[in-house]
Amino acid sequence: MTPTDRAAGPAGGAAVLPRRRFRIREQTFIGYLFLAPAAIILLIMVGYPALAGVWYSFNSKMLGFEQYHFVGLGNYVSLIKDPRVLKAIGRGFSYATISCAVKLAIGMGVALLLNMRFRGRGLARGITLLPWSLPEIATVLLWTWMFNDIYGVLNTVLLKTGIIGSPINWLGTKWAFPSVILVNIWRGFPFFAINLLAGLQTIPEEVYEAASMDGANRWQAFWNVTLPGVRTVMLIVTLLSFIWTSNDFTSIWVLTHGGPAQATETFPIVTYELAFIGLEMGKAAAVPVLLMPFFSVLIVLLVKAVSGRED
């Protein structure tokens, strides 16, 4: 032990409590010391890159070249004039909107089912959570394989049951966009279901009894008791899922690489393409900055919903 440590120790030397002023100095020192490892990592790996990203977006930075110069809003102008980027932004939002709407509807239905009383309910809840808890890449590769136009099981089953007449090339035609949405729904609905289930369980049984005493039918009970009861949970999971889904790179990239002919290109994909294939780092860095105001609004709503629920 060094002399400083002993002096800073709360019971240093004698068994008397240290004077108050001394204690605050000690807490400040230890406080920052303990915080330092995490703070330094976050500063270097998140804080600096976030600011640098904004700076790059105003510069003509090319990958592999050290020199770059200030171009003001040049990158933003070229983004807004680039139909491919605009389409990817629109597509990203429709991907997230459609996926989240369906996940919310299915998730609500499955939450109601999992809230029924039946044998094996615990097991059913565990199984329902599987698509969400398996590694993303494992499920995405699995779906890539099931979508295979020749040997894929999806075509086999649909042909056998007579739902389709000839095999469909799911990931290589106009079906690609609905297909990537389907994969996102399959992976994501358990997150909605389990959280909504937790929300349902907080609604006291008495409220339903009171409602049925008042002559409410099932539909009215759902509309007037259940939905208001899980409204905040619905808002939180939908906002979270919307942010995650619209920023999702992995599943679309692995399923289609954004193709065919950019038909499944959303903004994370186009950012990657601009930066690492087009080598236009500055222009690519401008994409997330351009979308930041929108996501900030979602994040503020999310923080408000979460902190409102805790109070």
């Binding site: 807490q27 490892p37 998140v46 976030a50 089912l113 590694p135 494992a138 590769l141 692995v254 860095a285």
Partner: protein, 281 residues
């Protein structure tokens, strides 16, 4: 005809169970297909019409995966990176969580909000500068860059969760230890950590799954297959000249095992950890 209340209820219950069965089928069939393909002999995988079962389960795919692809190297990379990231994350998050919840110092609330804010910055925003920075530092094409990138992803949530968790532990316990002559580190190590077990386990599981499942960062940061982790390695097998679906599916199954095991083993911890951290005292 007007049905009695009981009959009506029974019908809707039965209908509900049927729907539940359908949901479970939709969830389980693809997973069954992953397992089936992983254990099917390759001459059956690519033989039309496709059969929905196999009479000849085999380990040929898994064996092939380990022999002809760098699966084992990538498995070692995945384990190394996850292990190092978890170890550092738990220590750093415990220290920071302790600091933010138990100590009073100027700027503490600002630091706490700053940590929370880093949690909200989207990954796409930091990706490009991060790449340039790592390139300048000569850290691309290594496992080091993955560890620090995963730490950056895992720490905000872990710090925040442990901060919440620690603040549920009564201050008196710690004061007693301090009066008995423990220093802060000893108090943290001997009093707080043993009581914060579920919080620590949740933090470790969170960091592990994040590292284990990450695809985009190793794909972008490392360009040789011997430095890839499992997700990038497996996805890389899709676009080759030969179909390796049996191998890919057995790999997908193998890499799911630790995640599922943690999920099952840790579920009790994680649930109690999260609720304990979230509930305000």
């Amino acid at each position: 005809m007007h049905l009695g209340f009981r009959t009506q209820q029974r019908i809707s219950h039965t209908f509900g169970l049927l729907l539940m069965g359908l949901v479970l089928l939709v969830v389980l069939f693809p997973i069954y297909w992953m397992l089936l393909t992983g254990f099917k002999p390759s001459n059956e995988i690519y033989k039309l019409p496709i059969k929905l079962y196999t009479a000849n389960p085999t380990l040929e795919n898994a064996r092939n995966l380990m022999k002809v692809t760098p699966f084992l190297t990538q498995l070692r990379n995945s384990i190394t990176v996850a292990f190092v990231a978890v170890s550092i994350a738990v220590v750093a998050a415990a220290l920071a969580g302790y600091s933010l919840s138990r100590l009073e110092f100027p700027g503490r609330d600002f630091m706490a909000s700053a940590v929370f804010f880093t949690y909200l910055i989207p990954g796409t925003m930091t990706l490009i500068p991060l790449y340039v920075m790592l390139a300048r530092m000569g850290l691309l094409n290594s496992l080091h860059c993955l560890v620090i990138a995963y730490l950056a992803g895992a720490l905000p949530f872990s710090v925040w969760m442990l901060k919440g968790y620690f603040s549920t532990i009564p201050m008196e316990l710690e004061n007693a230890a301090l009066i008995d002559g423990c220093n802060r580190l000893q108090a943290l190590y001997k009093v707080i950590l043993p009581l914060a077990g579920p919080g620590i386990v949740s933090c470790a599981i969170f960091t592990f799954t994040l590292s284990w499942n990450q695809y985009m960062l190793p794909m972008i940061f490392n360009n040789t297959e011997n430095l890839w982790t499992l997700p990038v390695g497996l996805a890389g097998l899709v676009y080759g000249d030969v179909f390796l679906w049996g191998e890919i599916m057995s790999g997908a199954f193998l890499m799911s095992i630790p995640v599922l095991a943690l999920y099952v083993l840790g579920q009790r911890f994680v649930v109690s950890g999260l609720t304990a951290g979230a509930v305000k005292g």
